[in-house]
């Protein structure tokens, strides 16, 4: 599932702490601004708190970069995907790996595979719906933030027309205003939103997004980056030694248990 086959650097060439990074001796990691709960806690990735922050530090360590050698920068979505040289070594902000995207940038192996979930409120059209057919039948209007897999789920998997928002804040407001009936986000975010941001919020259920071509979140690197192989190896190693599972357990444990819509 890794897109690193075409990456030049063989894994054996990864000398700890001496990769061909943007800035020698340092590892520059980018994330979004703001970075959201529970991926990063309090928008402070430097603290290592939050799922993606923890993953980033784990990968860094695997690559031979201590906490002090890691530098965080913020990037916009466009800044991450634009052609040309990048100012980060890798970028993580829930980028789903797809083959189409892999033509433009490199991805590591996936570090997490999130299902999508529909957030709504008590008494909405979607309250009580238990399967995918029910969503369509309810004539529900679903929203999602732009540049997310959630959007693909609505359009290609449910075959509905989505209301597309700049970010989850817009979607949540529209949901509160009952301008949409449900907001599709990844499951961890869904738990946060339904619990904290939406009065009487509910999670209608989760949807396996694989059918929409989603093969999980990967670390994003510049196309043909010399370190893609090393990073992928690091992620693979972290997966096999159980580190990622532990991190998932720590930050995303309470995100299981929503009914699966089929």
């Amino acid at each position: 599932s890794s897109s690193s086959e075409d990456a030049a650097a063989p894994a054996e060439g990864c000398v700890a702490g001496e990769l061909a990074t943007v800035e020698a001796g340092a590892l520059i990691i980018a994330t979004g601004e703001p970075a959201y709960y529970p991926w990063v806690i309090d928008d402070a990735p430097e603290s290592g708190q939050g799922f993606e922050a923890a993953i980033a530090y784990a990968v860094a360590e695997k690559l031979g970069y201590g906490k002090d050698a890691v530098k965080w920068i913020r990037s916009t979505f466009d800044g991450a995907i634009a052609p040309g040289p990048k100012d980060f070594d890798f970028n993580l902000q829930q980028y789903s790996i797809t083959t189409e995207r892999a033509e433009v940038v490199d991805f590591s192996s996936p570090y997490y595979k999130a299902n999508q979930a529909i957030v709504s409120f008590k008494g909405s059209k979607l309250d009580g719906v238990t399967d995918l057919a029910g969503i369509t039948a309810a004539g529900a209007k679903l929203g999602a933030a732009v540049s997310t897999t959630s959007l693909d789920v609505i359009e290609s998997q449910l075959g509905l027309k989505a209301s597309v928002f700049n970010d989850n804040a817009g979607g949540v407001t529209a949901l509160k205003n009952k301008q949409i009936d449900g907001l599709v986000v990844d499951l961890p975010t869904a738990f946060y939103l339904s619990a904290v941001e939406i009065d009487n919020g509910i999670i209608v259920g989760q949807i396996d997004g694989s059918d929409a071509g989603d093969s999980g979140f990967g670390l994003l690197l510049a196309k043909d980056s010399p370190i893609t192989g090393c990073v992928t190896d690091a992620v693979d190693a972290l997966t096999s030694d159980g580190t990622i599972a532990a991190i998932t357990q720590e930050w995303l444990a309470n995100t299981a248990g929503a009914p699966v819509l089929k």
Binding site: P83, R101, V146, S147, S163, V164, N166, N177, Q179
Partner: protein
């Protein structure tokens, strides 16, 4: 008084005049040639630098991947219909309300002072605050009020927000046009017995609007694009459609397709208006050499 053309229908330019015309033509041609060649040279150099730069291929593939562009075009066109529909609706309302506001602001009647004051505040405020906030306030704020009977349809609310903002801009453009019409024109119209309204209708506005047509077109073109801002409310316009595709593919060609759609509408519009304007000016003005 002056002789009709028949007098000199068989008039032939003198030898001197023929030489002069030839020379003038030669000179013009030479200058046009110089200007043309230098333009081509400059543009050519840029193109060559562009095409031979190390990153050209990757840039081309990211921004100008035509096959992909054609593939996403239907989606972008679908979004574009939103821009066009909103422009038609918002455009006409903006024209009307902007005109009203401009008339209030340019009126001199002391009785209208409070309205003039309000109109000034309106323009200052709604021109000055980011349109995105107006759209958020109207599009998300009004439904949040839960006033019975008031729509929470984003298309309607978004259009209202666009109208509110653009009215401020267009009012200023029209105001400037109205101010350029010399007071003696009003005096003449009123002295002919035309009412205040008739004077505006037949004398002031025809001259005013003609004079500010270029900035009005600016605003129309900007409006077509800015109707897309209501995409923050969840409506998909051409740029949003492009953005969605780009987010999927990490390729910017959809934006270029959106731009081409915009140009396909705005350029003919601009050229057409410009031609009408130029014709009317040519008919109206005596043209000397200056």
């Amino acid at each position: 008084m002056t002789s009709p053309i028949s007098d000199s229908e068989n008039w032939q330019p003198s030898e001197l005049e023929r030489r002069r015309r030839a020379e003038r033509q030669r000179k013009t041609q030479k200058n046009v040639l110089i200007a043309g060649i230098s333009s081509v040279l400059v543009l050519g150099t840029f193109s060559i630098i562009l095409v031979n730069s190390p990153g050209w291929i990757s840039l081309r593939d990211t921004f100008f991947k035509w096959a992909y562009g054609v593939e996403v075009l239907p989606k972008v066109i679908l979004g574009f219909t939103t821009n066009i529909t909103l422009t038609l609706i918002a455009g006409s309302s903006v024209a009307l309300l902007g005109l009203l506001l401009a008339l209030v602001r340019t009126s001199r009647s002391p009785a209208l002072t409070p309205f003039r004051f309000l109109a000034t505040i309106y323009v200052d405020v709604f021109r000055g605050i980011p349109m995105i906030l107006v759209i958020l306030l109207i599009g998300f704020g009004i439904p949040a009020l839960q006033i019975p009977g008031v729509t929470n349809e984003v298309l309607i609310l978004g259009t209202i927000a666009v109208i509110i903002t653009y009215t401020a801009y267009v009012a200023e453009v029209l105001r400037s046009g109205i101010l350029t019409v010399h007071p003696s024109q009003r005096a003449a119209a009123r002295s002919l017995g035309l009412s205040h309204f008739q004077t505006l209708r037949h004398v002031v506005l025809p001259q005013a609007i003609k004079r500010v047509t270029p900035p009005l077109l600016n605003d129309l073109v900007a409006l077509i694009k800015d109707t897309g801002l209501i995409s923050i409310l969840g409506v998909t316009d051409a740029v949003r459609a492009a953005q969605i595709q780009t987010a999927k593919s990490f390729n910017y060609t959809p934006y270029v397709m959106a731009a081409l759609l915009f140009l396909a509408v705005t350029i003919p519009l601009t050229r057409y208006t410009d031609r009408i304007l130029r014709r009317s000016m040519e008919r109206q003005n005596a043209q000397g050499l200056t």
